[in-house]
C-alpha cells in the first residue's frame, strides 16, 4: 500500500496512453456487464423458492394441445397438492395482430399460486368481481400508459368471439407487481383475464385448458406428486406431462437458444482483444521506463518489489477501467430497459464479483511478461541504455 502513490504516478506517466487504454477497458467491461446480466437472468429464470413449489401440467402431446377442464378436481385431490389453478393461451395482440402480448385466460385463483406477484387487495377484489376485468403487468402498463379503470381493446389471434369478431374488450382493474424477478419476472409483461369469461365468449375453446399449475405442500415430494398427477390421465387421449416450474423454464430456454454459448463466445473474443491491448500498453510502459526502473533497483528496491509494482500497476489499470465500465452498465441498463421496453436484466452482485475476479486475473496475465522483464533488469545494462 505504501507504494500506491508511486504506482499511481507510473500509471499516469503518459496520460493519453493510459486514458485511451482505460476507455477500451471500460468498453469491454460495459459489454461484459450487459451480457453477463443477460446470462444470469436466463440461468436463474424459474429458480426460486416459490417456483420450486409449483408444478406445471401440460399435454404430453405438445404445448399447443389442450386438456379438459375436468382434470382440476382429480389433480386437486392428489395427496401433497395444496392448490391447483389453470390457464389457457389467449393469443392477445394490441393494436396490430403482429404486436403480440403474452396474455393468459386464468382461473380465479391463478394469481394466488404466485405469492411473489403483488396485487393490491382492492384491485384483487375488483378482478374477482369484474367479469371483463384484466390484470396487466407493470411494464406493459408503463409502456402503453394504461391505468386502472381504462378500457382495453385487445385482438385475439387465436380465438374469435361468437359473432366472429377478433376484437375483445376488457377493463383494466389492476396492475401486477412482481417482487421476485427470478420467478415473477414474466408477470411484468403479462395480461391475465378470466378463463370463465373467455370460455363463454368464444366458440372455439369449449371448456379446454392449456395447462394446470399446482402448488405442492412439500418441495421434496414434488417429483412424486408430478408422477401422481400424470398417472391420472395415463393411457387416456389426453395424457399429461408434469414438471417443476424450474425444469419447464429451463427446457424452454434451452429450446430458444444456447444463451450461455453465445454469451461466452462473444466475451471470449472481447477479452482476448482486451488482453492484447492492455498487454501492449503495459509492455510500452515498462519499455520506456527501463532507466527509471534501473534507478529504483539501484537505490535498493528488491527485484520482487519491482515485480510486484509492475503487476500492481497493470491490475490497477484493469480495475479502474473495469469498475467504471461495470458501473456504467449498472447505471445504464435500467434506463435503457425503461426507455426501450426491453426486459433487460439489471447487473447484480454476482456479476460484480465475477467481473472483479476477471479484472484481477486479466491484470495479472497482461502484467506478467513486462513485470518479469522489469524484475530481471540488469542495472548496469539498463542505465547504460543497452
Amino acid at each position: 500500500m505504501k507504494y500506491l502513490h508511486l504506482i499511481w504516478a507510473a500509471l499516469f506517466r503518459r496520460k493519453t496512453r493510459t486514458i485511451l487504454t482505460l476507455v477500451s477497458i471500460i468498453a469491454a467491461f460495459l459489454l461484459f456487464g450487459m451480457l453477463d446480466a443477460v446470462r444470469t437472468s436466463f440461468d436463474q429464470a424459474g429458480k426460486s423458492a416459490n417456483g420450486a413449489e409449483r408444478l406445471q401440467t401440460g399435454s404430453k402431446l405438445s404445448f399447443i394441445q389442450t386438456l379438459p377442464s375436468s382434470l382440476e378436481l382429480p389433480i386437486g385431490k392428489v395427496p401433497g397438492v395444496k392448490a391447483v389453478a389453470y390457464a389457457n393461451w389467449f393469443g392477445g395482440a394490441y393494436q396490430d395482430p403482429h404486436n403480440q402480448i403474452f396474455s393468459f385466460a386464468v382461473s380465479p385463483n391463478y394469481i394466488d399460486l404466485f405469492p411473489e406477484v403483488e396485487v393490491p387487495a382492492a384491485q384483487r377484489k375488483a378482478f374477482d368481481e369484474t367479469r371483463t376485468g384484466v390484470l396487466v403487468g407493470e411494464d406493459l402498463a408503463a409502456k402503453y400508459h394504461w391505468k386502472v379503470g381504462d378500457k382495453l381493446p385487445l385482438q385475439s389471434t387465436i380465438f374469435p368471439t361468437h359473432d366472429g369478431s377478433k376484437n375483445w374488450s376488457f377493463d383494466i382493474v389492476g396492475i401486477l407487481h412482481p417482487k421476485d424477478k427470478n420467478a415473477g419476472g414474466m408477470f411484468k409483461q403479462l395480461i391475465l383475464l378470466h378463463w370463465k369469461y373467455f370460455d363463454d365468449s368464444t366458440p372455439y375453446n369449449r371448456g379446454s385448458v392449456g395447462w394446470y399449475v399446482s402448488r405442492v405442500s412439500d418441495v421434496n415430494q414434488a417429483d412424486r406428486v408430478a408422477k401422481a398427477i400424470d398417472a391420472i390421465s395415463a393411457n387416456s387421449d389426453h395424457e399429461t406431462r408434469t414438471q417443476t416450474e424450474q425444469a419447464a423454464t429451463a427446457n424452454w430456454i434451452k429450446q430458444l437458444a444456447d444463451i450461455g454459448l453465445i454469451v461466452s463466445s462473444i466475451m471470449g473474443a472481447v477479452f482476448f482483444t482486451l488482453m492484447l491491448l492492455s498487454g501492449n500498453t503495459m509492455m510500452m510502459a515498462v519499455r520506456e521506463r527501463t532507466s527509471e526502473l534501473a534507478v529504483l533497483k539501484t537505490i535498493g528496491f528488491s527485484s520482487a518489489s519491482v515485480l510486484g509494482m509492475v503487476l500492481a500497476e497493470s491490475v490497477l489499470l484493469l480495475l479502474i477501467g473495469g469498475v467504471i465500465g461495470l458501473g456504467i452498465a449498472t447505471a445504464l441498463i435500467p434506463a435503457v430497459a425503461a426507455g426501450s421496453g426491453l426486459g433487460l436484466p439489471p447487473v447484480g452482485a454476482g456479476n460484480w464479483v465475477l467481473g472483479i475476479v476477471l479484472m484481477a486475473v486479466i491484470g495479472l496475465v497482461v502484467g506478467v511478461i513486462p513485470a518479469v522483464r522489469a524484475m530481471r533488469l540488469n542495472i548496469v545494462d539498463a542505465l547504460a541504455g543497452r
Partner: protein, 442 residues
C-alpha cells in the same frame, strides 16, 4: 489564442469525422470503388500525392519493427469484425431460411386476424370453398393446386438428451397437393407416407435435432406409434418439420374436418391482387391471404431485427475498444517516428503527405484486420447450424448461419471506419508537431 486554436481544430476534426462516417455508412460499393480510384490517381499523378506515397512506403517498411503494436490493431479489428459478422450472419441465416420458404407465386390463406398458421382455424366448409375461388393454378387433371394443411406441435426427445429433454417439433398434416405446391421439396431417403397410415416423413433439420427419426424407426407422438418411412429435404424452414397424412393427423389431434391453412399456387405469378380481391369478395369466407413470401418474411421480422440490434450493439461497444486501441498504437508510432517526420517536414515535405501516410498505414492494418476477421467468421460460422423456437411456428427451427458477401463487405467497411478514426488524430498530431521541438526531442 493557441489553446483556442487547438480546440477549434479538434472540434473541426470531430465534426468532419461524424460527417464522413455518416456518408461512409450509406456509401454503396461503387462509391467506395470510385473513391479508391480517385485516391489512387491523386497519389500517382500529383506532386503531393507522390510525396504521400513515398512517405507511406517508408512507414509501411518499418511496420515489421513494430510487429507487436501493429498486430494489436490488426487483431483488435479482426475481433470486432469477426464477432459482428458472426452475429449478423446468424440473423441473416435465420431470416433467409424463412424467406426461402415462401415465394411470390404461392399464397397462404388463413382465418382472419391469425398471426400465424398454428393460430388459424379454417372450418370444413371454408376448406372446401377456398380451392374453388378463381385465380388458382390447375394441374394436368384440371384440379386446383391448393393444399389444405393442418399444423400441430409434437413433443419429441432431443438428440443427445435424456428422456426428459423434450423439444417441440412442428407436425404438418398434408395431402398430395402439398408436393405440387412446393416443388422444391425432394424425397431424399425412403418413400412418401401412405394415406391413412400412421406414417411420417421427416425433414433433414428435424432429424438433426431430434432423436429416433431415422427412416425405419418408430416414434411415439402422444400415445400413438408412428413409423418413419422417408426423409425429405427442402433447404428452408420446412426442413425442420415432420409431415404426415392430414386425415390421420386430424384424427390423432381431434381436429375433425378443420384445417389450419390452405397453401395454393396462383395461376398467374402476378395475379395475387386479383386473387385476393376475389377471395375477399366471397361472402362465405372470412379469411386473410398473403403471398407465402410476405407471410414468412413477416414471421422472421421481429427475431431478425432483434439479432441485428444485438449484433450492432455488441459491434459498436467492441469497436469503441478497438478504436482506442488503434489510437494508442498509432500515437505511440507517431511519437517514435517524431524525429523522422520532423526531418521530412524540414526538408520540404508538406503536412498533407504526412497525414495521408499515417492514415493509409492505419487503414492498411485495419483492412488486414477486417479481412482476417471476415475470413475467420466465414470459416467458422458459414453453414454453422443453430436452432431456435421460431416466431409463428411451434417447433424448433433449425437454420444455418449465412455469411454473405454483403455481410463481409459491411464488416470491411466497419474495419476501415475504425482504422480511419484510429489514424486521423495521430496523423494530425504528427503533421502539426512544431518541427523544431520534434527535432530537439530525445
Amino acid at each position: 489564442m493557441n489553446k483556442f486554436g487547438n480546440f477549434m481544430i479538434g472540434l473541426g476534426l470531430v465534426v468532419a469525422l461524424v460527417v464522413t462516417l455518416g456518408i461512409w455508412v450509406r456509401l454503396p460499393w461503387p462509391g467506395v470503388l470510385g473513391l479508391a480510384v480517385l485516391f489512387a490517381l491523386w497519389m500517382a499523378l500529383t506532386r503531393l500525392g507522390r510525396q504521400a506515397s513515398s512517405v507511406t512506403a517508408v512507414g509501411v517498411s518499418t511496420l515489421r519493427q513494430r510487429l507487436g503494436s501493429s498486430s494489436v490493431i490488426v487483431i483488435g479489428i479482426a475481433g470486432v469484425v469477426g464477432v459482428l459478422v458472426a452475429l449478423l450472419a446468424m440473423g441473416e441465416g435465420y431470416s433467409e431460411t424463412l424467406r426461402r420458404t415462401g415465394s411470390t407465386d404461392t399464397a397462404i390463406v388463413m382465418r382472419g386476424a391469425s398471426a400465424s398458421e398454428v393460430m388459424s382455424v379454417l372450418e370444413r366448409d371454408n376448406v372446401v370453398v377456398i380451392p374453388q375461388v378463381a385465380g388458382i393454378a390447375r394441374d394436368a387433371q384440371g384440379k386446383p393446386i391448393a393444399s389444405p394443411e393442418i399444423v400441430v406441435a409434437a413433443n419429441l426427445q432431443l438428440k443427445g438428451g435424456t428422456e426428459d429433454d423434450v423439444g417441440s417439433v412442428q407436425l404438418r398434416g398434408i395431402g398430395d397437393e402439398a408436393w405440387t405446391v412446393r416443388p422444391n421439396v425432394k424425397v431424399v431417403a425412403g418413400r412418401k407416407f401412405k394415406p391413412g397410415m400412421h406414417e411420417l416423413m421427416v425433414g433433414q433439420g428435424a432429424q438433426r435435432e431430434f432423436a429416433g427419426l431415422e427412416v425405419g424407426r418408430q416414434v411415439k407422438l402422444g400415445n400413438q406409434l408412428w413409423t418413419v418411412v422417408g426423409q425429405f429435404a427442402s433447404g428452408d424452414a420446412l426442413d425442420s418439420e415432420l409431415w404426415a397424412d392430414a386425415n390421420v393427423v386430424a384424427d390423432a389431434y381431434r381436429r375433425g374436418g378443420s384445417r389450419n391453412s390452405v397453401t395454393l399456387k396462383l395461376a398467374d405469378p402476378n395475379g395475387f391482387d386479383a386473387f385476393k380481391a376475389s377471395l375477399e369478395a366471397d361472402p362465405r369466407l372470412k379469411v386473410d391471404v398473403d403471398t407465402t413470401l410476405d407471410y414468412f418474411s413477416k414471421q422472421s421480422e421481429g427475431t431478425s431485427k432483434m439479432i441485428q440490434g444485438i449484433g450492432i450493439t455488441v459491434g459498436v461497444i467492441m469497436a469503441i475498444g478497438a478504436i482506442f486501441g488503434a489510437l494508442n498504437c498509432m500515437f505511440a508510432a507517431v511519437a517514435a517516428r517524431a524525429r523522422e517526420i520532423a526531418t521530412l517536414r524540414a526538408i520540404g515535405f508538406r503536412g498533407t503527405p504526412v497525414v495521408v501516410a499515417i492514415m493509409l498505414e492505419t487503414m492498411l492494418l485495419a483492412l488486414i484486420g477486417g479481412l482476417l476477421g471476415g475470413a475467420l467468421a466465414w470459416l467458422i460460422f458459414n453453414g454453422y447450424t443453430a436452432s431456435t423456437l421460431a416466431a409463428g411456428s411451434v417447433g424448433k427451427l433449425s437454420f444455418e448461419f449465412s455469411v454473405t458477401p454483403a455481410l463481409l463487405w459491411s464488416g470491411l467497411k466497419w474495419a476501415l471506419a475504425i482504422g480511419f478514426i484510429g489514424g486521423l488524430f495521430p496523423a494530425v498530431r504528427a503533421a502539426r508537431l512544431p518541427v523544431t521541438t520534434a527535432l530537439r526531442e530525445l
